[in-house]
């Protein structure tokens, strides 16, 4: 286990987030801090509002109440409230993850174009734009090579397999170097072998983080992955957060059901890329999550399985701590 600096800076914080669709309360009192370099798996039963929370973080569907703060690198502490979707949060959806009218390389390069140039620039300074575009495509090709996609460069999304598409979608997000990348059930539609391949790719990104920390640099990738697959959640993430509508809200002092909240928050073992997948190794944690998060008959106190991580800047020990309890 790599040792961490005493106070890893935050990437994202949700403060008292509530959300409702009409009278139906979906999210109740969500408080969550994500440290820079963390790979957080968000799990929960269907209908618990995982995607709603993710959309709130992306900024497309702001919550009814509460705040989502984003901490940008090199900016003073305190964080910026999320206000609509922006280039500092990357997103990979399960479907419709790529622009159908662009090849893989163009799909990856398009972010650089949209972010760094404007329409008037592209129209009226055409010569300059063409040179810059070549540079963008070169950078895109580099990222594609890194994700083992060099053969897909000239393919359109319709010509790619599902796994390739999700890889390109991740490349598309990575090239922007966002503060945090959000994955909404990214591998849900893939077959088992492809899925394992892509999980491995995420572990390689995590490994880059680990190496960066060892060399005293800031980890580059922070990630939230929404999944309904518990094995995937434990295997890919270094921290599992469970969102559930099954919790004892009366004991927490609410008169009526406030919505799903976080009932599980623990570290999960970190795996090296290409290591053997010994799922039995974390069978205990899986069972624990299944009981605490997924079982409608188990209504427990909300913080029974929640770890209260030390808040920065108070030292010391931090994530990810010892392997699963």
């Amino acid at each position: 286990m790599p040792s961490l600096p005493p106070d890893p800076p935050l990437a994202l914080e949700c403060r008292g987030v509530h959300h409702a669709f009409g009278p139906k309360r979906v999210l109740g009192d969500i408080n969550l801090k994500v440290a820079r370099g963390q790979f957080l798996s968000l799990v929960g039963p269907s209908g618990c509002g995982k995607s709603t929370l993710l959309r709130a973080i992306v900024g497309t569907h702001p919550p009814r109440r509460g705040q989502i703060l984003l901490f940008r690198q090199g900016e003073p502490a305190g964080g910026c409230p999320v206000d609509g979707p922006g280039r500092d949060r990357g997103i990979v959806y399960q479907h419709y993850s790529l622009f159908p009218f662009l090849t893989a390389e163009q799909n990856v390069a398009v972010g650089l174009m949209l972010d760094r140039t404007t329409i008037p620039y592209r129209c009226f300074q055409w010569g300059k734009w063409r040179r810059l575009r070549r540079e963008h495509c070169r950078q895109a090709a580099e990222v594609l090579v890194r994700l083992k996609l060099e053969d897909a460069r000239r393919l359109y999304p319709q010509e790619m397999s599902g796994g390739m598409r999700q890889r390109v979608a991740l490349a598309q997000a990575l090239i922007m170097k966002p503060e945090i990348i959000l994955l909404d059930e990214p591998f849900g539609a893939l077959d088992e072998a492809t899925r394992e391949d892509l999980q491995n790719m995420l572990l390689e990104l995590y490994d880059e983080n680990v190496r960066a920390r060892q060399q005293g640099r800031d980890p580059a990738h922070t990630l939230i992955i929404v999944t309904h697959e518990l094995n995937e959640a434990i295997y890919v993430g270094d921290r599992v957060v469970g969102l559930s509508q099954y919790w004892d809200w009366r004991r927490a002092g609410f008169d009526q059901f406030p919505g799903s909240t976080i009932v599980y928050d623990k570290a999960s073992p970190v795996f090296k890329p290409d290591s053997a997948r010994r799922f039995e190794a974390f069978a205990r944690q899986r069972e624990e999550i299944r009981r605490a998060v997924f079982d409608p008959n188990v209504l427990q106190e909300r913080d029974l399985h929640v770890t209260y991580w030390n808040n920065p800047p108070s030292p010391p020990a931090h994530l990810p701590p010892s392997p699963a309890p």
Binding site: T60, R87, Y96, R116, T118, I119, Y156
Partner: protein
Amino acid sequence: MIRLPISRAASIGLGVASVLLLLLAYTWLSQRQHRLNPSDTTIPTWRQLGHGVVQAFEVNDRSQDRWVVADARATGLRLFAGLGFGVLGAVILGMAMGCFTPVEAFAYPLLSLLAKVPPTAALAVFFVLVGTDMNMYVAMIAFGILPTLAMTVFLAVKEFPEELQYKAYTLGASNMEVILSIMFRYALPRLLDSVRLMIGPAMVFLIAAEMLVGDVGFGYRIRLQSKLVNMSVVYPYLAMLAGFGYAMDFALKALQRWLCPWSFTKT
């Protein structure tokens, strides 16, 4: 048997056979007619048709110009100007309707009403509003094709997945970039498909209007020569119209292949 594929050679052969059959049937018909009445002009022989073509292409004594050149210039200008304004208006209206709900709510009922008015029937309105000749034809064609084209663009933008819209924002796109660089490109192949299909109606509107009030143009010439039962001029004109429509179709398809190669990829 049903949906059984055939070889490419067989497919081309059958296509050629159908055209040959038409020509043979025509030859037989005109020959039979001329045995009954040697001076017949309703189903002219190939020799008569040849004379008709020469008549259409040579300098005319009375008007001092070549019919085909004058007619093609007039009809072509009207058609292309009408198509151009129609497509431009449809893109602006369709994109605005697809992107902004108030515009949709405002324009949709009106558009679906106006789409039901046959433009040729409303010719007098255009005459009153924009004057005679060129302006009138252009306005008529533009308004004739606009509702369908605008609807196509509108529906294409409407079905643009919102995930891709959000994605564009997370990649740093501005609203204008989402509309012009993302949504418009998404709708473009559908627009071109629709333009291809609307060439036919646009020609129908124009020829009919020229027949009613024109003094030059394909519709005018066909009406005049039909009255004189000069079918040896009418048939070549019809063939030219068919050839023109076919060429336009081909050109638009090529344009689509060039602008949107992605819409031809197989899933």
